[in-house]
Symmetry: C2
Subunit: 341 residues, 2 copies
């Protein structure tokens, strides 16, 4: 099949220019005569030339590629983020590599190594936060990166773009309290994740403001990748744990909660009010629309990319860093909650 791939050399031989001239003509450089450029470009097209950017990047030192490293690409939240980053990157003629970590530390490390070994110009990563090690490692390499969605609050070296998780947690809890719920089950993500920890802060703050005591029994962590939400809800109900409101770490967990509550014969919002996080219904119009906390994924994605590109350019010059961005969150009320006053 397929003859060997056409290279600059082939074009050079056919045109009697040098490889160098051909290279610059194809890059449309001004210092090559317009006519020469046209001629070479035409022939290149005719011969089916495809740039070998691998070879180019070996020489030039940059690849016009960035890596996007997330926990679970099949979670619509990350799906949307990846799509938005890709779209924004394309405008700047960057390509993205997507790597999945399943929020596992070893896979995260190997994802970072893979990205680096492919000479990416920068990395946008939603860190597993099982430890700081992988990110310190990344930091030491000097390759520009930006955290997205999670941060290390105490480490100023790690630039990030997150949403206002504490406010989100606060707004969700406050809304449930305002609508008459006192026993609010919080199905949180694992606490080593900053977003989980900060949403928890918001949860506690709201409870405190309303003088509702914190019941540790109502704070649970069903897991993000392999969710045990359904089992958890079932056993909570069977054990007769008392709650009427649910605040879930993300919409997927909220959906599962509603799914199981309905399966057990309860109505949402009739018997339980449920709030999610991520506002996926803004993109996917599903039945039984979910009350949720909206974090602008397109804004987060675009900001993360902008910052990354800035860091990439600055790092050629000299210093960089100090980017800390918190995108606003707000409550979007839909049909999974109701006023029980």
């Amino acid at each position: 099949m397929a003859g060997k791939r056409v290279t600059l050399k082939d074009i050079a031989e056919r045109t009697n220019y040098t490889i160098n001239t051909v290279s610059r003509a194809l890059k449309d450089k001004e210092d090559i005569a317009l006519e020469t450029r046209k001629k070479i470009q035409r022939l290149a097209k005719e011969m089916g030339y495809i740039e070998n950017s691998v070879a180019g990047s070996l020489r030039s030192g940059y690849s016009k590629t960035i890596a996007v490293i997330v926990g679970d690409i099949s979670n619509p939240h990350f799906g949307i983020i990846v799509k938005e980053i890709e779209k924004a990157a394309r405008k700047h003629r960057y390509t993205i590599i997507v790597l999945n970590t399943e929020d596992r530390e070893e896979l995260e490390e190997s994802a970072i190594r893979t990205a680096l070994s492919k000479n990416v110009d920068g990395i946008i990563i939603c860190p597993s936060q099982r430890s700081e090690d992988n990110i310190w490692f990344l930091q030491r390499t000097g390759v520009p990166f930006v955290l997205i969605g999670r941060r290390f609050k105490s480490i100023p070296e790690f630039d990030y773009v997150i949403c206002d998780d504490e406010k989100g947690g606060y707004l969700a809890t406050k809304y449930l309290l305002d609508t008459g719920h006192k026993r609010i089950l919080f199905l949180n993500g694992p606490l080593h994740i900053s977003s989980a920890e900060e949403r928890y802060e918001g949860y506690k703050k709201a409870l405190q403001e309303y003088g509702v005591p914190l019941d540790p029994q109502l704070v649970r962590e069903p897991g993000l990748i392999q969710s045990e939400t359904r089992h958890l809800i079932r056993s909570l109900i069977e054990e007769g744990v008392d709650f009427t409101g649910v605040f879930a770490f993300n919409d997927v967990i909220a959906w599962e909660t509603i799914y199981m509550l309905q399966k057990l014969g309860y109505g949402v919002p009739k018997d339980y009010s449920v709030i999610g996080f991520d506002n996926i219904n803004a993109r996917i119009f599903s039945p039984s629309p979910l009350t949720s906390i909206s974090n602008s994924k397109s804004k987060m994605s675009r900001r993360a990319l902008d910052i990354l590109l800035k860091k990439i350019n600055e790092s050629q010059a000299g210093k960089s860093g100090g980017y800390r961005e918190v995108v606003d969150t707000r409550l979007v009320v839909r049909d999974s909650t109701r006023n029980s006053h």
Copy 2:
């Protein structure tokens, strides 16, 4: 920040071995003394060596990378497929690059070019099918590829893995007919996509079997990327178009349909029965579970990858091709349909 990146040369200098020996030691080749290997590997780790696979692939001719090109990564269907391909690829120590086409022909072409320019060893692509050109172009390059989810039935050169779309369309329609629906709205994808066309065949076949005349008014194409499902449903209802069953091209469209029907005051499945396609509820347990056609995404993904790897290996040898795989579909009944007899 960051000192310059460590290369084989640096390690060679520190150990007084040659670059070549270091290279082979790090690849753990048997022809290097075990002791030497250990010593070099230890030092490499100590010095923070990260392989430059770009340089390696330039020389070796393969990159251990495959490209996955899809229309919309934020659609959970593709999110799941990408995740499954990534997982399977990782086992074979392959990395994936993900590229979005938005089902647009120009973006598809540039996605293919980007993939090729990065020297991927192979491509798994869900073609936009706006024309055959891009795939013929890909074919001519000689780079191994496999279509996933869509096929060109009349072009035997293009290997594919799809699900049994016709059967899926047939099963969905038959089920609606069996449960008493005669007026079945088919919200299809655009007909230039093989899956849409073949599901339509199934739809027609079932109608025919049951002696129900085909009403063109009931066959619509709300669009896949920018879905106009909600507007469409609203206007159909307002125009008083008569139907009681809906078969949607995918679950996202089905969800939107139910969303809008409910918004207009109708019940699902009380007033309308709705069937989707993709069976996303097998992964995401959402409230109001959707009756859907199941196509095993993990099986499709794994088969596509297996075939691709086979083609990659065979293409080094000589011939390859002739892979045509149809994964079975089946009906999964949930709560969005009911027997109206």
